[in-house]
Symmetry: C2
Amino acid sequence: MSNPWTLAHRAARMNPSIIREILKVTEKPGILSMAGGLPSSDTFPVEEIKAACAKVLTDNPRESLQYAASEGFAPLREWAAARVNAELGMDVSPDQVLVTSGSQQGLDLVGKILCDQGAPVAVETPTYLGALQAFTPYEPLFHSLASDINGPLPEAIAELPRTAPGTRFMYLLPNFQNPTGRVMPAERRDAVMAAAQAAGVPVVEDNPYGDLWFDEHPGASLSSRWAEGSIYLGSFSKILTPGFRLGYAIAPKALYPKLLQAKQAADLHTPGFNQRVVYEVIKDGFLDRHIPSIRARYKANRDAMAKAIKEHLPAGCEYAEPKGGMFFWIRLPEGLNAIELLSLAVDAGIAFVPGAAFYAANPDPRALRLSFVTLTPDQIEKGVAILGKVLHDALNSTHAIPTP
Amino acid sequence: MSNPWTLAHRAARMNPSIIREILKVTEKPGILSMAGGLPSSDTFPVEEIKAACAKVLTDNPRESLQYAASEGFAPLREWAAARVNAELGMDVSPDQVLVTSGSQQGLDLVGKILCDQGAPVAVETPTYLGALQAFTPYEPLFHSLASDINGPLPEAIAELPRTAPGTRFMYLLPNFQNPTGRVMPAERRDAVMAAAQAAGVPVVEDNPYGDLWFDEHPGASLSSRWAEGSIYLGSFSKILTPGFRLGYAIAPKALYPKLLQAKQAADLHTPGFNQRVVYEVIKDGFLDRHIPSIRARYKANRDAMAKAIKEHLPAGCEYAEPKGGMFFWIRLPEGLNAIELLSLAVDAGIAFVPGAAFYAANPDPRALRLSFVTLTPDQIEKGVAILGKVLHDALNSTHAIPTP
């Protein structure tokens, strides 16, 4: 008999993740991958997590293995509120914190309660691919905000009531953005949030990389500048472990109940065991000792990649040295296409992510993203050298073939 | 300034869970709660989980704490396929298995890829509240299937092309259903699935309680009868621990990629650590030793509740003794209203869930659900005795007040 399933309208827009498909290719043994956004597994505090698992299962076995509150583990919610208040200039209470299954789930829940078919959502140009994927099933109309090296342009935000009337929210990554690595300076934050408030367009602020600064704390959050108009998403993936899938959303009190109901419907609650283990690890200030060691490691990796890029990549590559986070964003010389070059690169033993994946519209075929946190400095030097050879070869063959 | 947030259309239909709100009331210390669907925490294999955590973090610390595949941990997917093939008469391969964050997430993903605003979804009468909550944000039109003690009526299914044309799927719980505790006999399964296939309406089969049979295995799954037209949802919550939030969806190969994309967008993947720990606990046949002990415990509890109900509840209460699972479903004598009685019951020291919560439409005000797995047999006897007193008092006062 014929296929009995009828897909939802929204399913037509849900397509395989280009990044995931690429990652599959790059899982070939021996590939030096600068593609994935995987934190270095050398940074995972294995012994602390092991001890915390044992302690939680000794002290609170029943509570940690039973169903739990959808809001999350109360001490972890208190910790998150205290942390953003102390570090990011915010003024929130624990009852505004919703524990999520990674900040990716925060994006899904936000999409669920705020997106309607055809209603605009404004995003940076480029922006995090996973956010586009999380919002897409709710069928928004993506509006790409014009941007420069400091983030989205305040003028583009001021124009939203005219260019994208009814915009539900702007999705912004102020710190070491994925994919560009850029950080918004304080003046730009002020201007962006003033424009947002004047335009009446609220903000969803995603901050997975904020702790990974190398020389200078990136400053108070966007949310601290307009609390009533901001949802803040935090994550433990880059400072502790992504394998526990633990993040949190902080929402204005008026919005919190709907977010909570969406969470209940989605998975009842985030694993209580994981929440208790992470709280056990971090409750006595562990992160204040641990995060600096991640920063030092990633900074050395950034330096190794900056040096290798200078040495090996052809003239005409455009990039800015990231001041934190995990990524270099490189624009290739004219005539090169990052998507076309990927298979050559993989054949040569390396991988990157073509930048085109990160655009809601009008992708830049010349852009690519390199992660500097998964490999060691030696491997980075080797990998970038190979990339340089691939690019030089491509440029030579481009030059060799006369334009028709 | 005014509220800058505009909610999605679907958010208007998302309302607080009645059960969750009730559970909050019943968390008062000293309440004998027969309300929640919490498995007995005495059944959690704490020592085995503790040892597995240590082993996973010793043998595979990096892999278990790193990002992981959206499909799930391969050995766990193989285990799930082998299990349903051996136990439930199915014939599926591991690449049809998607690991989910509890089977609740399976319901959310199913809703996301299959439900459109106004398109019918057929459900049992009554049905699992959490499924109604998971599907509701996708704005289906719920169609309540007429049912009897053996499950939904095949005639009601045969009529779907006329009564609810374009029904996307039927949501069915064949084993010890939540809330009624009923189990579908083999002949009813045959008739239901034949009617479904004839009507061209596929089935989402939810089976969290199937292992909790007391005297007799409930038989092959619905999905085994029409593989191409079935999604099967399994769970570790009732046989191991709900606190790890671990379940799985098994889908026809044609449907799997969309389900996987929905999963990626929702939370990237279920915690790899949790998947590895559960696999470590169960891989050598642990469940074959463990589940019988849960069955014995719950059967003794069921017996205690059956005895207490006979002894303490007023004549005119209708119920069937459940042959497995976790719940008694009781219909009160005419004139009594379970919602109205709940606050009296809580004042008297016990809690139940009013049955009205479990209906997509036309709730039965006389129904209530009692869980027999959270309390001990002694507590059950005490709790049902208190319920009996509340009901007798209510009947007496009903009789005392002349109808106007």
